[in-house]
Subunit: 363 residues, 2 copies
């Protein structure tokens, strides 16, 4: 069973296809493509593939400094303006590929095959890249969607518990941001780390169709799409402060708990709103329980460093922090917090309470 | 007297304004902008400007390797998503600014003030960037037009003969590519290195309005716009083989003579066509006569190296060279030449005859 739908973008529409066994078909279709692949996945390619660029899926690979050697490899493999790039991997591979495909000879066509659940439920659509520069996370990037997204469910077998949970956190966040009924439907699909491929397909499709609404209404991240940063601004600081030992998806899950605590502290929520966001954070806590190593990281975390990393986030404005929090009946809003000593202290307190909550899951 | 018109682009329209004394007005309008400026032009800025990034206008500055330090400077100057970038300089400053404005925090708004004639008559519209990687010229780039182009004619006073002539070659090329009547009108404006500001304004306006036709009909460089590469593919090899001692505009002028020689060699032209292209190359020769140092460069040039540099141009396809040459009655066409020993020899012979012609101007 194969499902497919189309995403509209200013630089051309692209097809998203979900199913099993799609990698082989893709390699066939793009026989003369250059393949850019996570070096962890070497085994999935037939032995006769020749034009391959291996990238290690670590944070340092998605940096401006590492872009030049890959550009040179493309050139050495004879890539020209009509060469197709086939990118196979998770978020880091996607960031690198989006950026490189957009700039190589002013843009070459490319296909993306996400291999992580996080890539499948979220980042594979939207066309954004995020690239680090000298340790500043995601300081640069751009918009350059692939000409097709191919989600091969067979890759789910290669993932560990942390990767599955990170992906579910992003899917949960997107459905929550879309509407209460989408989030209820997401929970009804019984998301877990032991999902069947059919279950996974339903959850991926639900998440992507929800995200589609945001990216078609706000392709360049000016308004509605900013709500998808729910959990992210709080989460990025967690990633940075632990030198990425807490991975992106997990950080987003914890970030949503921080957002809940901030909303409660500032009494932004009605009783309905408290119940609504609690459904989300209960789900996050249930899944986090499978990852005791997270509690260990959080116990040794310096909260001043966390606060400093939060302060450095590029999403803030000169005079205001910008965070996404649930308000009123639980609906997400982009909120501006003054960058004053008091504002900083409130944020820090929300972190403190949230981290304590997460650590306590494991007691 | 100030003239202005609008260019249509998929990422938003932008205004082009030509006149005198426009720099001061721009600095006023964008009081909190970060200024990226050719370090040769330091003197044009008021002493109280604080947020300035100086870039040396040499080929090495428009490289992927040099992008990271400028990104970091933007960050250190506090640039955020809404920060305006004011770019002041010639083609290299424009390439660097287009690239950086497009990737910094996924794109910030920017204005461009071209300071060379070449920038004013040609590159300031179109939104393209060309960036070098490890010595591969223009291997990467993208499309990201500024939100406004401001042509301050006062900058013409800062230019030397070579810079004026290079600009005129590009203007001549654009008008020629547009139509025989545009080129006749260009010649009727009596272009020379001693033009008055009014004359310069007329020539700049004519050239930009001609270029506008190409970029609005073919923004992403797929078809019509490729004709603007007239003189360029032959010219790039000249720049590369002389390690850029022959500058871009001058190389384009000589490149048009090479194209004429190739067309004659292959008998692609009617008698009318020969007369038509001869008008262009006579104009080029007349202006080149002011630059005896060019002949000196050409005399010591290794034609095998030139041929090799031509062979390496990224615009070629795997099996064909792609060049723009005048055909029939002198109209430009994108022509494919087989990448065979014979094809290579023909190209080399066209170079040889053309260079001899240019050297003979000075006898």
């Amino acid at each position: 069973m194969q499902k497919s739908f189309e995403i509209t973008s200013s630089s051309g529409n692209y097809q998203v296809t979900i199913g099993k066994g799609l990698l082989a078909a893709s390699l066939n279709k793009h026989a003369s493509a250059v393949i850019l692949i996570d070096d962890f996945l070497t085994g999935v390619l037939p032995a006769d593939e020749k034009k391959i660029i291996y990238v290690t899926a670590v944070e340092g690979s998605k940096s401006l400094e590492e872009a030049a050697p890959i550009v040179i490899k493309l050139r050495e493999l004879g890539a020209h303006r009509k060469t197709h790039l086939l990118a196979i991997g998770g978020g880091i591979i996607q960031d690198v590929s989006t950026f490189l495909a957009s700039i190589y000879m002013r843009g070459i066509p490319w296909s993306y095959l996400p291999t992580t659940l996080l890539g499948m439920v979220d980042s594979c659509v939207g066309g954004k890249s995020s690239i680090n520069v000298h340790g500043y996370k995601n300081l640069i990037g751009n918009f350059y969607p692939p000409s097709e997204v191919i989600i091969d469910l067979d890759f789910l077998r290669t993932l560990n518990a942390e990767q599955m949970i990170g992906g579910l956190f992003e899917a949960a966040k997107i459905c929550y941001a879309r509407s209460p009924s989408e989030f209820a439907a997401y929970l009804a699909d019984a998301p877990s780390i032991n999902m069947s491929p059919d279950q996974a397909e339903r959850i991926i499709l639900r998440s992507l169709r929800s995200k589609q609404w945001f990216i078609e209404i706000d392709e360049f991240d000016q308004k509605e799409r900013l709500l998808l940063n729910f959990g992210h601004t709080f989460g990025h600081a967690l990633e940075a402060a632990t030198e990425f030992r807490i991975s992106h998806g997990i950080a987003v899950g914890i970030g949503m708990i921080v957002a809940e605590e901030y909303a409660k502290q500032q009494t932004l929520l009605t009783p309905t709103g408290i119940k609504c966001i609690r459904q989300m954070t209960s789900h996050v806590e249930t899944l986090l329980h499978k990852l005791p190593e997270v509690a260990k990281e959080l116990r040794s975390l310096d909260i001043d460093l966390l606060s400093e990393k939060f302060d450095n986030d590029k999403k803030h404005l000169a005079e205001q922090y910008r965070i996404v929090v649930p308000k009123n009946d639980g609906i997400l809003e982009l909120v501006q917090v003054p960058r004053t000593a008091q504002g900083r202290a409130n944020i820090k307190e929300a972190y403190r309470v949230a981290l304590e909550r997460v650590i306590n899951i494991f007691h």
